[in-house]
């Protein structure tokens, strides 16, 4: 309690003894807590409560004898308690107005007796006994700063053993008191931390601000604001040092319009009225004569109604939380847009550092100065001439808009880092008085203070300031806005000297409102301004944020219009900028909707003459090139592809494709390959003879161009004629050569893609075999990105259709990496890998390797994949594996749940999955044990259910599966009962001969059951089978004959039975 009282409690004067506790929230809560402690003490700790104080606590009380009841001896005005100490002295003695108390129990009673006066009593007691603990327990327990050894001393006494009982109680008491002390301290700390702590800088700001309110005529809210002392200490205070000790910063004399001059003390704890300090040295005048306010404005509002009224009129921003310095900056820019900047630019630039610094100050946690920036706001509004002209309402709107804008910009601003700001500004600047007007005011708002020191340090370590480019660009944009054609051109040229590839500059242009101006310039008649503007837009539109901003500002529409201009410079610059901006969907749509595609296509119409070009022709070529660039960007949207075609772009592109210039070819081929996703383009590329040019450009030495050519071939080679054309144009060899460019992954992906698609034609596969493409491809199976792997594996899968290639893949060590890829997750890759593995598995030697690598298990687990393409492809691959693996039946059984899994895939709705699974089941069913298992899993009814299909591929494999499954138990009968026979008969009418063979075999198996024979016969099978018997296919012949024989045999038996 001692420490809390000396440290936390607020005494009126520093001198001890005669001091009084101030009436402040902190003190009040302290007192309340002490009161509570005392009140409950005797009931909680009865033993300790009886402990007699070393010295009585004495104070002047307001209690009277009448307040005391039983347990007290009342004789006239004096009161004595019944309770006495060992020597018979009463524990409480009242001789008004003084009271002395010897124990806690009595203190508790007093508190209870005093009722509504209790707080006053506690205060009086504490004021009279500055260190109650020392009195209670003896001077050795006096509160001393620093180490407290009293408890230790006490413990020593305990060891000594004498008065053991009493000492124990003492120990308990002191512990209790110390607990209270700690509690008090922590509570008061909370309160203190909530308090407003003013700093010299904040006070100075407020004063400067208030001073500006004095200067106005009609609107003036204050008559004068003056410091009592002109001398400012280095720490920013203006009070004598011996008052600074009390946290007082300065004294002010403020004359409001409506009341007496106010003598105000500004201290760290807040501002309050004093006794009227005129000059230093008048002791008593320092005392506080009013409540404490958190800042000057609040105080003035309560003291001067005129001030409160008028300040509220301006008070549009005061409620907003923490608008930063940026607000003012924005306001400034906006004002300039209206042609009324409020101060010279130069000036503003000088203030940059200050602003930045202030911003940092305000961003600091704590928010002590919460209201300060908004006050400056008001000030700015007051000082600006145009605001006066405006009516209040619109001003308010403008302000709130700007505020919203600022919030947004503040976040954007975080993007800026780095600063080449010159060092701290000269200190004399901060000393110039800032009472001239609003403009100066805010620039001077941050003064020299401790905070400044901190800030300057901080600035060097964290470069969160705006870079100098920002301010230079802002200046140039100002000239763009307010200059004639000549000034505009100079500003544009100067702006181009910035590193426009740098994001800082790009965003700076946007943030200072430069984009709007640049785009507006495009709408003027001034060709030079348009050219200059486009040259900048062209560069900065490489930034995605700028692109969106340009589109938002309607820049695309204007640029599309410029495409009609007769000036070629304008045309190509506009096209190139469109190319940059149209990188996102909305922009591409805008270009199309405003007729941009048609105009861009028209730009392509130039005659690229390979011979030396004149200057004008070169410009034509440049226009066409930029047109192609723009179309390339636009062609990423399907509807734009269509629009390009309709605008007649294809023949023009075909013509430009013959250009000898690489920088022309890249956008042209880029556009073509982008559009080749459309069938119409693929046909056009084929029929317009563009394949030849594409192949020719495969041989160039520009990787990007090669990539686009390969990519175009990749997309177009889905078509067989295109594949043949590529071969005929001798495009296959350059593709294989390009495989050596393994470092350029995009190129590699395009090349392998082209090889894959070309490999779909067997003639091409043979060529690739000659060029030893497969060997290289196998080498590309490891350490490649997925988009390359998909194509490589796809190409291998196609190549492996040829037996010789299968051996090649094995010999090059390709099986292992392929099997490893089965564990991947990329579905396109899995489809291709399973296909390749399946193709390889048709070779016995390959199968041994796959088996050893547990490849079949991996394939099988892919049946669980969600993608039906993967399922089907895996199932197809499983077929050759089962056929060629040793002990395949045993192997299949070893896959736990494997058979059930594959049978359940018969529930799939995907025809390809069904066909592949049927094929796999046909292979599985060759093993009798496995057949038994799948029969148990209900394969028969599932197959029977599928028989009504018209898909020949499914029919064929389904018939195979049925034929195989008939081999077990009563499956034949079950198929018949499930109605599978009649549909099968119809299969014989199919045009696909492979269906016939499988069906005939199934029917042969089924015909071993008499009921099935009857069904078949009823469905007219005999005639069909008789036809089949004439087939050249021996398997078919035999099966058909066998089936007919079975039917015939049944008929004979029947006749025999009938006629005996």
């Amino acid at each position: 309690m001692g420490v809390a009282l000396t440290r936390a409690a607020q005494w009126t004067t520093a001198s001890s003894g005669t001091g009084k506790l101030e009436i402040t929230p902190v003190n009040e809560s302290l007192l309340k807590e002490i009161l509570e402690f005392v009140e409950q003490f005797s009931s909680r700790h009865p033993q300790e409560a009886k402990h007699v104080f070393k010295e009585p606590l004495q104070w002047t009380t307001s209690l009277e004898a009448s307040d005391f009841k039983t347990e007290y001896d009342i004789s006239g005005p004096t009161v004595k308690s019944h309770e006495t100490d060992k020597d018979g002295h009463p524990m409480l003695q009242l001789t008004p107005p003084s009271i002395s108390v010897h124990s806690f129990s009595q203190l508790s009673k007093i508190v209870q007796l005093a009722t509504d006066k209790r707080l006053k009593e506690v205060r009086a007691c504490l004021e009279a006994n500055r260190d109650p603990v020392a009195k209670m327990l003896g001077p050795s327990f006096a509160t001393v700063e620093g180490e407290d050894s009293s408890v230790l001393r006490l413990l020593e006494k305990v060891k000594e053993g004498d008065q053991a009982k009493e000492t124990e109680i003492k120990v308990k008491l002191i512990i209790l008191l110390q607990q209270l002390d700690t509690q008090l301290l922590s509570n008061s700390l909370k309160l203190i931390s909530q308090e407003v702590r003013l700093s010299p800088a904040a006070v100075k700001n407020d004063v400067e601000l208030l001073k500006s309110f004095c200067s106005e005529g009609e609107k003036r809210v204050l008559t004068s604001v003056q410091y009592t002392s002109d001398y400012e200490f280095t720490n920013g205070c203006r009070t004598p040092p011996w008052r600074q000790v009390h946290g007082e910063i300065c004294y002010l004399v403020i004359k409001p319009c409506d009341t007496q001059p106010l003598h105000i003390t500004c201290s760290t704890a807040g501002v309050f009225l004093n006794g009227g300090i005129r000059q230093e040295g008048e002791e008593n005048s320092y005392d506080r004569t009013s409540d404490v306010y958190k800042d000057l404005v609040t105080l003035l509002k309560s003291k001067s109604p005129h001030f409160a009224e008028n300040i509220n009129k301006q008070d549009f921003a005061v409620q907003e939380e923490l608008p930063t310095q940026k607000v003012q900056h924005v306001e400034l820019v906006d004002a300039e847009e209206q042609g009324q900047p409020q101060r010279s630019y130069e000036h503003q630039e000088k203030n940059v550092h200050e602003k930045a610094r202030q911003q940092l100050v305000q961003n600091k946690p704590g928010g002590k100065k919460k209201l300060e920036p908004s006050l400056k706001w008001k000030n700015l509004g007051l000082a600006s001439p145009y605001d006066e002209a405006d009516d209040k309402k619109s001003k308010k709107n403008a302000v709130s808009e700007r505020f919203a804008e600022t919030q947004e910009k503040m976040q954007k601003k975080a993007d800026f880092s780095v600063s080449s700001l010159p060092g701290r500004q000269s200190s004399d600047k901060t000393k110039t008085p800032g009472g001239v007007g609003g403009a100066d005011d805010f620039s001077e708002s941050s003064s020299e203070s401790e905070e400044d020191e901190e800030q300057s340090e901080r600035r060097t370590e964290s470069n969160t300031d705006l870079p100098s480019e920002y301010w230079q660009i802002q200046k140039l944009v100002k000239y763009l806005k307010g200059g004639n054609q000549t000034a505009t051109v100079i500003a544009l040229c100067s702006m181009r000297d910035f590193n426009l590839a740098q994001e800082t500059c790009q965003l700076a242009i946007r943030d200072v409102g430069g984009l709007e101006v640049l785009i507006n310039l495009l709408d003027t008649e001034e060709i030079k301004c348009k050219i200059g503007s486009l040259k900048i837009l062209k560069e900065i539109s490489r930034n995605s944020q700028i692109r969106r901003a340009i589109a938002d500002l309607g820049g695309l529409q204007t640029m599309v219009k410029i495409l009609d201009s007769p000036d070629k410079d304008l045309k190509y610059l506009a096209a190139e900028t469109i190319a940059n901006v149209a990188k996102f969907r909305r922009a591409r749509r805008t270009v199309r909707q405003h007729g941009g595609i048609k105009r861009l296509v028209e730009l392509l119409d130039c005659v690229p003459d390979s011979a030396a070009l004149t200057e004008e022709q070169e410009k034509d070529v440049e226009v066409a090139r930029c047109g192609a660039l723009a179309l390339w960007s636009c062609s990423k949207s399907t509807r734009n592809k269509e629009a390009i075609r309709k605008a007649g772009g294809i023949p023009l592109l075909a013509r430009l494709l013959k250009s000898p210039h690489e920088n022309m070819l890249i956008p042209v081929v880029g556009t073509l390959q982008e559009c080749a996703s459309e069938r119409s383009y693929r046909i056009a590329i084929q029929t317009e003879g563009m394949i030849e040019d594409l192949v020719k450009n495969l041989n160039c030495d520009n990787h990007e161009l090669q990539m686009h050519c390969a990519s175009a071939i990749f997309k177009c080679a889905e078509d067989k004629r295109t594949r043949d054309l590529v071969r005929q144009c001798e495009g296959l060899q350059p593709l294989v050569t390009l495989l050596s460019q393994a470092d350029n992954k995009q190129l590699l992906a395009a090349t392998t893609g082209a090889i894959w698609k070309c490999s779909i034609s067997m003639e091409n596969v043979a060529k690739f075999q000659d060029y030893k493409a497969l060997e290289t491809l196998v080498g590309l199976l490891t350490d490649q990105p997925e988009e390359v792997l998909v194509n490589v594996v796809g190409a291998l899968g196609e190549g492996a259709q040829k037996p010789a290639n299968r051996a090649t893949i094995r010999k090059c060590g390709g099986i292992q990496p392929l099997v490893n890829l089965l564990t991947g997750t990329n579905q396109a890759l899995l489809v291709n890998v399973t296909k390749a593995v399946g193709a390889c598995a048709t070779e016995l030697e390959n199968m041994t390797i796959i088996d050893r690598l547990d490849g079949v298990r991996l394939l099988w687990s892919l049946l669980k994949n969600q993608n039906p393409d993967v399922q089907a492809s895996a199932a197809w691959a499983i077929c050759p594996c089962i056929e060629n693996a040793k002990d395949s039946g045993e192997m299949v059984r070893s896959f736990v749940g494997g058979l059930e899994l594959i049978v359940n895939l018969l529930k799939s709705t995907n025809k390809e999955v069904l066909a592949s699974v049927c094929a796999a089941i046909a292979k599985i069913a060759k093993d009798e044990e496995n057949l038994a298992v799948i029969t148990d899993h209900g394969v028969v009814p599932m197959l029977a259910k599928l028989t009504n299909t018209t898909d020949d591929k499914l029919r064929r494999h389904l018939a195979e599966a049925i034929a195989r499954c008939c081999m077990w138990g009563s499956n034949r009968v079950l198929f018949g009962e499930a109605g599978a026979v009649a549909p099968l008969v119809r299969y014989l009418k199919s045009k696909d001969s492979s269906v016939h063979q499988a069906t005939a075999q199934a029917l042969f198996q089924l015909s071993k059951d008499p009921n099935n024979c009857i069904t078949m016969h009823d469905n007219g099978v005999v005639k069909l089978l008789l036809g089949m018997m004439g087939s050249t296919d021996e398997v078919l012949q035999e099966a058909a004959a066998g089936c007919v024989a079975n039917i015939r045999r049944l008929a004979l038996a029947n006749e025999k039975a009938r006629y005996g």
Binding site: Y345, G482, A487, V489, I490, I527
Partner: protein
């Protein structure tokens, strides 16, 4: 009168022939038209014999009415650039030569011409002061600005930073030429002193219903350049009240020229 016209015609044709050989960018027909235009303009002057050509006021009228120039100082400088012999009159020769650059000059010619226009005192350098002088009206003045010239001064500094390659705080011809070659937009860095290229041909209005079309867009015409020129010349003559029948270039058929005045 007819004799006079015939004589006149003969004279003009001879003069046109000579001048078109001296001047790069006009053919004979065009030169002829321009001479007629010159004479037409001159005819308005009260005393023909006194003047050796167009005086300052007349010339500035053309610049203003036809080419939309507004800056008095620049117009004076253009006049000085035309008036090579400094006799305060633009003679017919100076007229044709000047227009040759003015309308159809190559970049080199234009750089030289612009530099001459901007070099106010003719000392071979564009100084800071000269720049300030030329740019002083290029920014909108802000009434609230402390120093209204602040922006202009800054603009001069920007220009120097951009164009003064040898850092001697003034622009030599070499500085100017290099800067313009790097960035063509800087050709007219200190004020418009060339016709604008917005249109292929601009109507030359001389008042009293005389209109002339002149092309300074050499090479801009999509069709045959010669045809274009001839067409423009024809229009020019027509508007001047002269009837000119000219053949296709190559001179296969020479047209008849009537002077309608």
């Amino acid at each position: 009168m007819a004799e006079m016209s015939a004589m006149n015609r003969k004279l003009i044709q001879n003069l046109a022939e000579t001048l078109s050989k001296q001047v790069k960018h006009f053919n004979k027909t065009e030169a002829e038209c321009l001479i007629r235009l010159f004479n037409g303009l001159l005819g308005d002057q009260s005393d023909r014999r006194v003047g050796n050509g167009l005086d300052r006021g007349k010339f500035r009228n053309i610049l203003h009415n036809t080419f939309g120039m507004t800056d008095d100082m620049i117009m004076d400088r253009v006049f000085r650039a035309f008036d090579k012999d400094n006799d305060s009159y633009v003679s017919v020769k100076e007229w044709i030569e000047g227009l040759s650059i003015f309308l159809r000059g190559t970049l080199d010619e234009k750089i030289k011409y612009c530099f001459d226009v901007y070099d106010l005192n003719g000392d071979g350098y564009i100084s800071r002061e000269e720049m300030f002088h030329m740019l002083k009206n290029s920014l909108i003045r802000q009434p609230t600005e402390e120093d209204p010239d602040e922006g202009i001064k800054d603009l001069v500094e920007i220009t120097l930073k951009k164009m003064d390659h040898d850092h001697d705080s003034r622009l030599s011809y070499a500085d100017f030429e290099k800067a313009v070659r790097d960035e063509n937009l800087l050709l007219e860095a200190f004020g418009t002193c060339l016709p604008d290229a917005k249109n292929l041909a601009l109507e030359l209005s001389l008042g009293h219903d005389a209109h002339v079309f002149l092309s300074w867009t050499r090479g801009r015409s999509p069709a045959n350049e010669e045809d274009h020129k001839v067409e423009l010349s024809r229009q020019l003559g027509e508007k001047l009240g002269l009837c000119i029948l000219v053949s296709a270039p190559g001179g296969a058929k020479l047209g008849k020229l009537w002077v309608g005045r």
